[in-house]
Structures are given as structure tokens and as C-alpha cells.
């Protein structure tokens, strides 16, 4: 199947600013989303996204279609930048908000979508980085199992194992408030 970004990348390589704008609009939200979920910090996520595009500008002119899809390559660059940052900082994930700790301990109150979203985000940050990376790629970045395995440099079987463990860990993390978190969803 033809890479949907192939023509755009070729034009970017030839210095077409309009193609660059289109490529940014097409992929920037996903790159920022990946960074935010991996690093738990909006500013760091923006830095990572910017770095990814600097590499795109650098390599566009020499990009050879036919190997990995361009978007998969971008995901690999973004994921490696995130993992590098996490390792350099000696941390596994981002900071978990104090509200999350409070929420886990008590609270049987109605939660709105924003609060639910924050709880899920915080629970994601508690996952070990490889499990989080697998989940982020397959659930939020819509990568296929083969693409996600390739990005992480593991087999599909290993990816499935990471995904299963990630879901199990998340369920455990959210178990205390599962009823609150799910009540509105089940009704809706």
C-alpha cells in the first residue's frame, strides 16, 4: 500500500513550505499526544514534537519510500526521544497529581469527563515505561500491532504481553474508583 505521506514528504524535501504546513497539521496533534502520555508534561511533549519535525526537515530530501511508513518512522523517533528523556531524568513516568492519590483513597463522588480523563492520565503515568509505550502506540496512536512492535523493537508476542500487563495494571490502579469512573460511561 502506498504511503499516504510519500508525496508530501517529497515536496517538503524540495523546500515546499505549503507541504510542510500540511504535514505539521496532519501529524502534530499525535506527536504532542504521544509525548504528553509518555512524559506526563505538556511543555516537554511540545519540545519532543518540535524535535521530531526538525528531524523530518533534515531527512525529508533523502527519504526513501518503501521501507517503513513515514508516520511509523515519526512515531519511532518520537518514542525514542521520550524514552531517552525518561532515562536521562532517571524517572519512569511523570508526576501523578495529588488529586489522584486522594481519589484513590476515598471519593465516591460523581466524576465528570474531565476528572475521569485526569484519573486515566495519572494511572497511565504509573505504568512501567515499556507497558505504557505499548498501550500508547496501540490505543492512542492507532498503530497496528506490527507497527507498534517495530517501533519498540520487540516481537508481536512480546508486544501482546506488554499490552496485557498494561491493561491489567491499569485495571488494578483504577479498581478503587472503578465504579465511579464507569458509572457515567455505562449510562451514556
Amino acid at each position: 500500500m502506498r504511503d499516504p505521506d510519500e508525496e508530501l514528504v517529497r515536496r517538503v524535501g524540495a523546500g515546499d513550505k505549503r507541504a510542510a504546513s500540511e504535514l505539521v497539521r496532519r501529524h502534530l496533534p499525535r506527536m504532542v499526544g504521544l509525548g504528553r502520555r509518555m512524559l506526563g508534561d505538556a511543555a516537554e511533549a511540545e519540545d519532543v514534537a518540535q524535535e521530531v519535525f526538525l528531524r523530518v526537515w533534515k531527512h525529508a530530501a533523502t527519504w526513501k519510500p518503501g521501507q517503513a511508513k513515514f508516520e511509523t518512522w515519526m512515531h519511532r523517533v518520537a518514542m525514542n526521544l521520550c524514552l531517552d528523556r525518561l532515562r536521562r531524568a532517571g524517572r519512569n513516568g511523570g508526576e501523578v497529581s495529588p488529586e489522584f492519590e486522594d481519589g484513590r483513597a476515598s471519593a465516591t463522588r460523581a466524576l465528570d469527563d474531565r476528572q475521569r480523563r485526569e484519573r486515566v492520565r495519572d494511572a497511565l503515568m504509573l505504568l512501567p515505561e515499556r507497558q505504557r509505550a505499548a498501550l500508547v502506540l496501540c490505543y492512542y496512536q492507532d498503530r497496528t500491532n506490527i507497527e507498534a512492535a517495530e517501533i519498540l523493537g520487540v516481537t508481536v508476542e512480546a508486544l501482546e504481553s506488554l499490552l496485557s500487563r498494561a491493561r491489567r495494571t491499569l485495571k488494578t490502579e483504577l479498581a478503587a474508583e472503578r465504579a465511579d469512573l464507569l458509572s457515567g460511561l455505562e449510562a451514556g
Partner: protein
Amino acid sequence: MNESRFMELMAAYGADLARWPDDVRGDAGAFLEVAPHRVKDVWESERTFDRLLLLERDSPASIALETRIISSAPDRRMVRRGPRVPALWDIPKWAAGGALAASLALGFAVGYAEPEHPVPPDYAKMLTLSGGGAGSVFLSAMTEKEQ
């Protein structure tokens, strides 16, 4: 597809079959149609969990970031076009050697050739006519000294 494999895949990819690997999706859908209630109950529970996970959606990127990134993109003026002029080190050694020998020969030939009408060294006058400034003063002094 049997129950055990179905549960294994659901534990990894969740309830949405669209996320499952291409090669098992059809079989998994067919299995789910006729699956026992206990499997369907687990599937429903996983589906709710998927919805919870997906509340954490992408938000649009900031305009400032988008602008910053687009402005950093290379444009035509910065991208070299057309074939590159070969540098000296790109030329084959035999060709470079030949060119060097030819230029030396030409240099000697021109150097030994005596002009038919030697030009008088009246540089100071020429510079004065064209408004030579400090240079003409210097050359006038040189010419007077020679005379």
C-alpha cells in the same frame, strides 16, 4: 479461534476488534457471534474499560507551536537545486594532473613571450587623470625617482 485465544487477544487489544491484528479479526468476529455468555460478559466489561481509556483523547496542538514548527521548515531558497558543480576533489586524479600540467605550460609560454610594444610605466599620470588619491601620490614619487 477458540475461547482461550479469544480471551488472550482481548486481554491485549481490548474489546474493539478494529484494534486486533488483521489476520484474526474475521475469525474473532465470527467467534464472538456464537460465543457463550461468559465470554460476552467479559467482552462487555472490556468494552466499557476501553471507553474509559479513550476518554484520554488528543487535544489540538497549540497554534504557537504549530507556527513555530512550520517556520522552521526549509523553503526553496534554502534547498539546493540542480546538479552540483563538481569540487576539485571530485575530479579524477588523471584529469586534475592533466589540467595542472596544461596550466603550467601556458604560464611558461605567456611568461617568456616578449610584448611587441612595451607599455611605459606612466601609472601616476593615469591615476591622477582618474582621481587616484593617495595611490597616485605614492606612484608619482616612484616615477620621479625612476626618472
